[in-house]
């Protein structure tokens, strides 16, 4: 059991960091092994924002090992060197935790595949997100703990998705935590509640097509699956609709891009989702109490039906 939540403000910005924190904290009973945020903040759109890690925060059942913090500095140096070699200029640098970094990068490219492959060829380095607006922040603990650790409560933006995780299919660590970046697409992120039963078959096919997997978490498949569809010209909505038959198992998932937010529910409707929709706000979560944290007044909500896909624009 995991909990997912998301919201999109249409035609305006809001304090999405604080709002999503409230929604995810309301779902903490669904899992607090790790919590992740995908925040689409207000930016000038000139630079890429790269969130990446140079080490793991290791919890129960993880295949990773806790390393000495000194290796993080070595890896960071190699990242800096590689960026310089590619002509990417680091405009702003933040190091929230020894293993977690945020770079604003002046880099002119539309193809992030080569860029990401070079950065991630450095052992121990993983890009959590890359985009002009998207920032993925994920770590062990419940929503409030992660929000406080990374000071997310003041982030202003248009939309956000998040995930409160109870680890079942893989260990407790950051690499298995949601949201997953839709590598190598700028500003694409995914959160998922459920289990995918044809994970390995799909993974083998997608890896043969050159797609990359960083974890053994079945949910990562959704991000890669959608990304691969978009790579071949499908729209977000088309890719999501194809996933209803291409992915086997039970799932409810959200996908967000720079200017949109979408949801999909499997054909058996086995995983919960409650949705509120108005002209200026869409809020959804695994349980109504998540929505109540941002809309305490009496509102009309509903459960989307089986096999339903919906996409909203900002």
């Amino acid at each position: 059991m995991c909990g997912i939540a998301g919201l999109i403000h249409r035609g305006k910005s809001s304090n999405v960091g604080s709002e999503l924190q409230g929604m995810l904290q309301a779902l903490k009973h669904r899992g607090e092994d790790s919590t992740g945020y995908a925040l689409y903040g207000d930016t000038d759109g000139k630079n890429f924002i790269m969130r990446f890690k140079v080490g793991e925060n290791v919890g129960e059942g993880s295949s990773s090992v806790m390393e000495d913090a000194s290796v993080y500095d070595e890896r960071k140096k190699i990242v800096d060197q590689t960026l310089a070699e590619m002509g990417a200029k680091v405009v702003k640098e933040e190091r929230t935790l020894p293993y977690s970094l945020r770079y604003e990068i002046d880099y002119d490219t539309k193809d992030l595949l080569d860029f990401s492959q070079r950065i991630e060829s450095i052992p121990g380095v993983e890009i959590l997100s890359m985009g002009k607006s998207l920032e993925v922040i994920k770590d062990l603990g419940n929503a409030k703990m992660v929000c406080d650790r990374y000071s997310l409560d003041k982030v202003v933006g248009t939309h956000a998705i998040g995930h409160a995780r109870m680890a079942t299919e893989s260990g407790v660590d950051i690499k298995s935590a949601h949201p997953f970046w839709g590598y190598p697409f700028s500003d694409v992120s995914v959160v998922h509640n459920g289990q995918l039963t044809n994970y390995w078959n799909n993974r083998r096919v997608l890896e043969n097509k050159g797609m990359r997997f960083m974890s053994e978490c079945d949910s990562e498949l959704i991000a890669v699956y959608i990304a691969e569809k978009m790579r071949h010209g499908a729209t977000l909505e088309e890719g999501m609709k194809e996933s209803l038959t291409g992915l086997d198992g039970v799932f409810t998932y959200f996908v967000a891009t720079k200017d949109s937010l979408g949801m999909a529910k499997d054909t058996m409707a086995a995983k919960p989702l409650v949705l509120y929709e108005s002209d200026d706000l869409v809020a959804m979560g695994s349980e109504e109490i998540a929505i109540r944290s941002v809309l305490p007044q009496e509102i009309d909500t509903y459960d989307p039906f089986d096999g339903e896909v919906k996409v909203w624009q900002i």
Binding site: T267, M268, A269, A270, P272, V274, E287, E288, I289, I291, R292, P296, E298, D300, T301, Y302, D303, F305, D306, G307
Partner: protein, 284 residues
Amino acid sequence: MANLKTVSKKSKAQSMGMHTEVLTGRTQQKFFNPDEAENFYYFGTYDVDFNKRTELDVKDMTAPEANKEIDNLMSQGYGTIVIKNPQGKHSLGVGILNKLNLIFEGSLGYFGMGSCDGPIVRINGRVGWSCAENLMAGKVVIEKNAGSCFGAAIRGGDLICKGSVGARTGIDMKGGTIIIGGDAGAFTGFMMQRGRIIILGDVGINLGDSMYDGTIFVGGEIGSYGSDAVDSELTQSDQDWLKRKLKVAEIGENFDVSKMKKIVAGKKLWNYDNLEPTEKKGAI
């Protein structure tokens, strides 16, 4: 009804719609004897007065605190309780084995009104998954929409949703009636064993999948039939019952019931009629 004082034990029980046969289970030798009816009571039930009314604001209460307070109010004789600010909390109003007029001014989360026997409930909002699961008697009316597993395993009573419901409505139900004013999702009536479901709107795929028994009436379109769910003739008796039920439910009173579809079990997977009475009880 027959005069219970002058008829035999067996006739007495049958007049009340009950049974006297001895069961052969290891823990329970006797099922019911109307001569001992006064010995049958629910622990923790109260005499309440419907005209004695109060309000309870649960905004800052947990679900167990709110449920304990409802119990406390019933013990003081309150027969009408209005719950303010439920705000989507889970498990509110569960385990009420009492006659009670309960009104929620707002929406409930998961498992609302579970395992109840007797109360009349009106929810002026929406309910989450598994509303009124295991309802044994009483009436629960939801003014807006409901989540999945609506009325799972109910054994009796009327469960009414004026809006639309999610998937697996009436899953494993063993009696009672579920009435939906809007649409219903996939697997409605999945493995239902007794009782009736009425859906005025459309219904999703796999309707009545693997149903043992019971009846489903649908007013709109059907996504697909589940395994062993088959059409049956809608009789005049069915139509009369539907009209009565919709009127009592304050829903679709003017709905043209003559065009509804009636779905029953094909009895190729399960057939209760082939079971001995004691086996049937064991199965249910």
